[in-house]
Every structure is written in structure tokens, then in C-alpha cells.
Subunit: 581 residues, 2 copies
Amino acid sequence: MSQYQAPIEDICFNLFDVWHLNDYWQQQSELQQQLDTDTAKAIVEEAAKICEQQIAPFSMLADHQGVTLQGTEVTVPAHYHAAYQSLCEGGWTGLSGDVAYGGMGMPKALSMMVDEMLCSADIAFSLYPGLTAGACVALLQHASEDIKSVYLPKLYSGEWSATMCLTESHAGTDLGIMRTTAKPQDDGSYKLNGSKIFITAGEHDLTSNIVHLVLAKLPDAPAGSRGISLFIVPKYLPANTNTNNGTVRNGVAVGSIEHKMGINGSATCVLNFDNAVGYLIGQPNRGLACMFTMMNYERLSMGSQGLGAAERAYQNALAYAKDRLQGRETEKDASKAEPIIVHADVRRMLLNIKAMNEAGRTFGTWVASLLDKAKYDNCQQSAAIANLLTPVTKAFMTDQGFSACVTAQQVFGGHGYIKEWGMEQLVRDARIAQIYEGTNGIQALDFMQRKVIADQGKVLSALLATIRSEINSHTFTHSTVLLTYITKVEQILALLLTQDSRSQNGNAYDFLNLVSYILYGYMWYKTSLALDGNKHSANFIAAKTETATYFYQRILPKADGYVAILQQSPTVMDNIAIDQF
Amino acid sequence: MSQYQAPIEDICFNLFDVWHLNDYWQQQSELQQQLDTDTAKAIVEEAAKICEQQIAPFSMLADHQGVTLQGTEVTVPAHYHAAYQSLCEGGWTGLSGDVAYGGMGMPKALSMMVDEMLCSADIAFSLYPGLTAGACVALLQHASEDIKSVYLPKLYSGEWSATMCLTESHAGTDLGIMRTTAKPQDDGSYKLNGSKIFITAGEHDLTSNIVHLVLAKLPDAPAGSRGISLFIVPKYLPANTNTNNGTVRNGVAVGSIEHKMGINGSATCVLNFDNAVGYLIGQPNRGLACMFTMMNYERLSMGSQGLGAAERAYQNALAYAKDRLQGRETEKDASKAEPIIVHADVRRMLLNIKAMNEAGRTFGTWVASLLDKAKYDNCQQSAAIANLLTPVTKAFMTDQGFSACVTAQQVFGGHGYIKEWGMEQLVRDARIAQIYEGTNGIQALDFMQRKVIADQGKVLSALLATIRSEINSHTFTHSTVLLTYITKVEQILALLLTQDSRSQNGNAYDFLNLVSYILYGYMWYKTSLALDGNKHSANFIAAKTETATYFYQRILPKADGYVAILQQSPTVMDNIAIDQF
């Protein structure tokens, strides 16, 4: 595997030239003092160093070592300790945390870039700080001041880590049927009993305490998802609420760890709650909404996982394609071979990855910046678009990430299948992001019903209208093509709005894909506008310009397949009886 | 994982009702005495028993145990011995072998069905008999009578096994630059020196001898692929050419075994040849052509690997979807959940797999029957179409097989990522078939240049014309749709014929996919014609009819994406300099 090099130039291009985030940051009172272009770049470069030097070189070792369970103790790969310590010491674990509790207060657009690099370096490792950051978002928004003051500083500093405990063996997507219970105690606390599975970082030896955010049911809870409450259940309880040292062992313990396809450095635990002491977060029976604050944060991070793995896979495949001598295009001597990057089909594979990765990075930066605008300006329009795009980020970026890893593995031929090259690990690791935090099928349903149909397509239509208006104001080489596809999406949207919900659900996955390809077209439009001969090298401009053309000519037309499918009704799926499958 | 059940009904439907192979067999003097519908069905059922009972239940164990190397001995998973013995005792190892040398003389259409079942049961296991069968085809066609009489009986009986030794560490696709040498000896034999990698079943403890078919270069060989010769190099040399007992250890030994993403029960070896004694097969410097006899056989078997894994994955996903309770469509009680097969998006996933698997089985049977017609009738037209379709079988069926496994894994949600459910193994195992025996990118180039462009699209055009004529003679519900797509392929073909070879190569992969989808449409046409209320149950007919509709409405339209891509020139790929990637 080649040495990972963080794509710093492209990250800065997206932050500053495509999305002009420095200008935005300078308008925000909370950011203008501490964040300008140079600071942001320095932050990216420092994070890149840790990823490149302390994490990425050992990701195959982490896969090989995996995690081990002895008794109730879980051991992570040995080098994770030093790498995690570096994250803590640099303040990276609190990068986007609230300054009032010791966080660095950086915007999501910046922390998402760091997420991508961490995921390129080692997805399994990235989950330890990643889940903590998500939990902090939920606590900050929903927890009491007492809880926040005890837990947030320890979580931001990385001294403690956090989990999200949702799934039970019989209840994954359908959380409403969960069985874990929480019984109110006289002192205002709760006693939790039950068992949770698939708990990432549920037990490990990286931190002195682990804080579980747990969904459970109160005794009088209504049936279904409206009867779920959220609790904070630390592994070690602070001795009293005024100290923030966890000292008393709580009734939560790991039962077993899962043996998985990949992300072997991540401890995926069964956690048993046996009269574990917990504290309610938010309102009774409103826990799912609180947890979704964290879940939505995680869903964006999933996009970073897809992109991170795809970027690493691309770098490896590119290095191999330049190095591997096989066949010839211009060489006449049959005993001499040329690097395989000269072959048309190898270029097809590399460009398919490159064009989607770079659009993905632009897309991720966009969605993160919308969340920032929702937070700092309380901009409802930005919040609505971020809400619309969250399932797209999760599903499309992870599907594309996996696909990119598979394609990059293919560039290696037989060597791609051998463990020592590291490509098969990227495929195994990237696969999970399509599954967890709500499968991509669930994302598609969320997109279709909650994000599109619920408001009769209003937010999506407005977004498409804005894009059309932008393109009409500032045309570019591929304006006509992109406008044509926007019209196609609008026509399909109009058709979907006439359908019953069953048909809409049957169309959800293909519609999410259709919209995603067109939005990636919009990303290449924004990229094209941002190219400036005074700021960028001729090589950079040429690469972006031609990759954009490749996207419009050789990738975007895939959307025609989705259009053609969506023009047909999916009702045939219900003509097949269960015993005819 | 659910218990594998061989799809005997669908296999027989394809053999007898879709392709009427019993009628064909009865017209062949070599087959009519020994093969009728009942015999064929009995053969399929007997093979199914071994696959269902002796191989499939232990495939996860085989993955877990893997192969081990101690010194120069390789040990396969323990239960492989009994399963392999059953294959030998039943004559399965010589199923398609020539009767003159102890084979059973069965047609390819039948042995391909057995291949599929073996691959469903355990791809890694299937490779041991699979490579032997391929080697026998090459030996039968190219070896001297002396060689054939010594080796074929032992290989057909399964007492010995065989390998194909092509790849070297620096030479995979580009075999012309290989370095292994063969030096002529006074007794007519050769001494081989060199090292080969990725040798499937290169060393193992299933058979008493292993026969290597090795590509090497003679001292005076011309450079490139026209300077390669084929040799037979047994692990144990027969004491003299008149005995067929291998007794003298030859100078070939395993150097190491590869650690792979999957097919862990298959021993993938580095083989070192140190003055190994070999015998020339076929003409000097014409070895590549001889080896391609075997390679083409293997490429069809790759199709069976894709289909076999996909069938197993489908059965598992279907069982899970019927069993797993999550969410509700008609149930009103929020505390009760329904099987996930009620959900539209789960049906989408299952039907995408089912429609492609069944078309794939029809397709594989077709290609195999064309090979049979080329063999028994010396039918040049059938041979030409089989030749055209070989890379399609290899590439499209393995791409679809992998995709089906990934989709089936997705049906399981988080459980699909956990080893104990077996789905992640299917994904890992199916992945290799896209890579070995010529990567799928190489298949696409072969299809484009050697199979389509070389004859100016003549065979492909004739095939499309035949299909159109068939549809016009016997119309069916989806005639118009299918005819429209055939016209689209013809238009793209006309366009390709005007392009330079560089553009054609850039278009190769997408064109192979386009043609494949349309041919799968033809398969569903043939299926629809074969449904007969007197022979098939109403359930069977309904399932096929609705799945066909699903294919035409929800899968075939994907072809529009490929059409749209192919209407654009791929030359943009060459506008990007290597340092701009």
C-alpha cells in the first residue's frame, strides 16, 4: 500500500474557493477571532500529519491484530493508544466542541475534513473519537446543565469516550419494539436493564471511562417509537454530581464482541445493562428525537467514511497503476511493458473514482457548511437543505465509497485480492458504512418520505430552482447538459408526488441515486466556477476541468438509467406472492 | 445461514423447457443412448445431494480453517477430503470427460449446472475439481496420445488433480513478458526453471499427484506472447511413460501460500520450478493458444461461480427476509413487527437478485449448449456465438454475482456484516471471480476487439438480427421494449465501428454491460415462451411471468444509462496527463 497523503490542496480548494467559507467565518462573531484561512489550513495540516504518520501506516496492522476480549476487558490494537493520545493532546477530540465546555468551537465544515482524513487513515480507529463527538452534540443540545458540566469537558478532552446504544438483537431499524427498561428511582436517577448489540466502542482500553447514551423504555411508555427515552449511563459513575471523576463501577458490562467482515480494530460489543444507573436526557418518551441529533451527526460522518476509504483506495490504485508494468500502448518492443495507467480501461476505472471522490468532497463540504449556517445564523433555509441532504450524504457517499474501493481493488488485478496489498481491507472496511447508522435502504425511505414527500417536494424543488437559476446566471461548458438533467429530476418528482406511498417507497432507492448524480453535477459546476488562474496552478485547473468533462460525459449519463426505471411503476413487486420469491 | 437447496426445478426448466436440450441430445449419436430427460434430472439430483449435504453446510468452517502450509505440504480444510472422495466415487470429477479415457461424456450444458451447485456450496472447494476439468479439456485437444493415455484417466477419476500455471510476479495479463524457461533435453523432455504465483490448488493433500500445465519460454523463443509454450509438469513423474503411477518426485514445490480476501479453503500457491521435468503440449511457441482452450473453459466456470454465489446469497437473504420481524406495513399494533419481506425496498433488493440470477442461469445454459453444438455437430455458427459470449459470461455473470452477494448482505442489515451469518463470506468469495482468469476489464477488451470489432460486428449483428426475428415471429408482452433496446445496441455498435481502437477500448466495459442487459432481456423472452400450463404449476408460471415484468420494467431500463454514456466519446480520458490524476 502506498503512503497516504492527505488531499490538503483539494480540501482547502473546497473550503475557500468553492464554498468561500473563510468569508463566511469572518462574518460570524463566534468564529472571526479564531478562524481565518491560515488557521484553517494549519488545522488541516496538523490533523493530516497525525493521520499520515501515526494512523495510516498501521491500519493493516490494526486489521490484523483486531480487538480482543478477556473477561470484561477489551484490548484495542496496540498502536491505537499513542495515536489516540496524540488526538487528545492536540485537542482534536474536541475540535467541534462548544468552547463553554472546553471544546475548540470549530465549524462542522472544518471538522468534516478532519473526519475524512481520519477515515482514510483507518475507519476502525476513527470510530472511537467519532462517536464521542456525535454524543457530545446530543448532550449539548438535550442534557441538563449538571450533566453537561460533568461530561462534556471529559469527552471533549478525550479522557472519556462515548457510545450510542440503540440496537437490540430483535430490534434494529424498528427501535419501537426494543425491550430495555429504565425504572425511575427516588433520587431522580433510573435503573436500566436489558441488552444492546452492535455497540461500537462499547468497551475498550483507550479511555478511563465510557459514557453510554442508551435508549430504553419507561414503565408506562406507550408502544412503538413514541415510547422511547434517552439515558446517559457511564461505565464509571462520578462519585457525586459535583465531581467529574468517574469512580463507582456501574452495572454495564460487555457480554461479547462481534467477529466482523472488517473494521476489526473497532470493538463492536454486546452490552448488558444490569440495574445500571442512568440519567434521563431530554423529555421522557422523546428519546428518539434526542438520539437523532447524534444520529444525524453520525450520518454525515458516514459520508466521510465512504469518501475517506475511497480517497485512500484511489491513492493506492493510482500509485499501482503508475508503477505496475503490463502490456503496451505505444511501446513496440514486445519484451517491454508500460505502466498500466496508459490503458484506456485502467483510466476509466481511475477517473470514475477520481470524479466521484472529488465531487463527494465538494458535496460533504457543502452539507457541513449548511449545518454551520443553520447553527451560527439560525438560517432555516440552510437547515432545511441540510436536512434534505443528510440521507443523500449517508447513502450515496457510502455506496460510492464502497464502489470506489472495489474498483480500485480491481486496478490491482490478482494482487488486489491478496491481503498484503491492503486493498481488500479497504473494501471490507468501507462496506459497513452502507449498513450501520440506518441502512442505505432506510436512508432512501427517509429521503423519499420525510424529506421529499412530506413537504410535497418543496425544499427539493426550491433547491433545484436555485441551481437552475445559478447556472443561468453563470453559464459554463456543461450548462445545457446539467439543466437537462435538472428538468428530468423535476419531471420524476412530479410523477412521484402523484403516487401512493407504497410506490414511492419502491422508487425511493433509485430516486435517491438519481438526485445524487444530479447534485454531484452541481458540485462539478461549483468547482468549475471556482477555478482561477491567479490562485491555482495550470495543472490543477486542467485536472479539474477535464475531470469535470469526464463526469458530465461518462458518469452523469448513468442518470438516464434511473430516469428510465422511475418512469415505470414499481407496483410489479407486489404482484409476486411471498411463496413465489 | 439457511440450508442450501439446489434450484433443481429451475435447472431442469432451463435445460428442457427453455433450450429443449433433451431433444438435441436425442439427435446426437454420442449422447442419445445414455442421456435423456430422466437421466439428466437424476444426475442433477445426485450432484445436488452432495452439494447440499456434504459441502454447503461446512463452507463457513472451510473459510475459518483455511489452508495451512507446513514445510512443503499444504493441508486443506478437513472435511474437503470426504467431500472430494464422494465426487470421485460418483464419477463427478470426470462428468464431462471423454469416454475414451474414462470420462462420463456428458455435455457442457449439464456439467455447467453441476458447476453452479458446487459453487453455491463452496467456491473454494469447487476449484479443486474445476481446474482439473479445465486442464483435461486442454490435454484432450492438444496433448499427444501418450500423454492423454497416462494422464486423462487419473484426472477424470479424480485420483490426480491439475493446475494452470500462467502468472508470474511481474507478468499477469501480460504473459508475453514471463521469465520461466524450458530447456530441451536429449530424451525429448524439458527442464523448467522459474517461479509462478497465484496457482490455485498448486499444492494440497486431496490427491496423490498434481499435474501442472505450465507456460514457459523455449531458449530461442520470440519475444512477447508468440514465444510461449505449454508444458505438462507433474508433481510426481510416472516411472516410465507406460505406467500411470506417479512415483518420482519432480522439481516443483510450493514456496508459500497467499493470504487472501476470501476463498480461504483454496490453496493459492507460489510454485517454484527447479529443473522440473516437463513435456511439451502442442506446438512450440503456440502454448498460449493451447492454454486458452483451458482458459476459455475456466471463463465459463467463472460465470458459474458468480451465479452460484448469487444463488446461495439469494436463498439466505430470502430466508432472512421471511424470518426477520422489523417494522410493519399492514399491522396496526406498534408493538408487533412483520417480516421485512413486506417492505418495498426489501422486495426491490430481492427481486433485483432473483431476476438477474434466473436470467443468468438461462444465459449460462445457453452458452454451454452452444459449446455442445460446436462440439457434437461442429456447428460453426454456434461456435462463433459461444466465442462472442465467453467474455460476457465471465465478466457480466461475475459482476452480477458479486453485486447480488452485496445486495443480499444488505438485506441482513447489521447482521450481514457479522461473520456468523455467512453473508460476508459470500461477498469475499464472489469477489475473486471478477479478477482471476483475466480481469473483467480484460474480458471487456476481448469482447470489444477480438469478438466484435475484429469481424466488424458481424457475429453480434447476426445474433441481434436473429433475436429480432424470433421476437417478431413469436411476440410476447414485452416485445416492443426489447426490440427498442436491440435497436439501441445496433446504433451504438454502428457508432463503435467508426471509432479508433483507443476509443473502442475506452468504451469496452460499458458496451459489454449494455449488450449483457439486452441479452438478459432475451433470456427472459425465452423464459416467457417456455412457460406451459400443462407442465408447470400456476405458482411457477406466475413467479416467472412477474419476475420477467420486473426485469423489463425495473432492471432493463438501466441500459439507457449505458446507451447515454456510449453516445459520448471517451477521449476525454486522454486529456488528463498522468501527473493530473
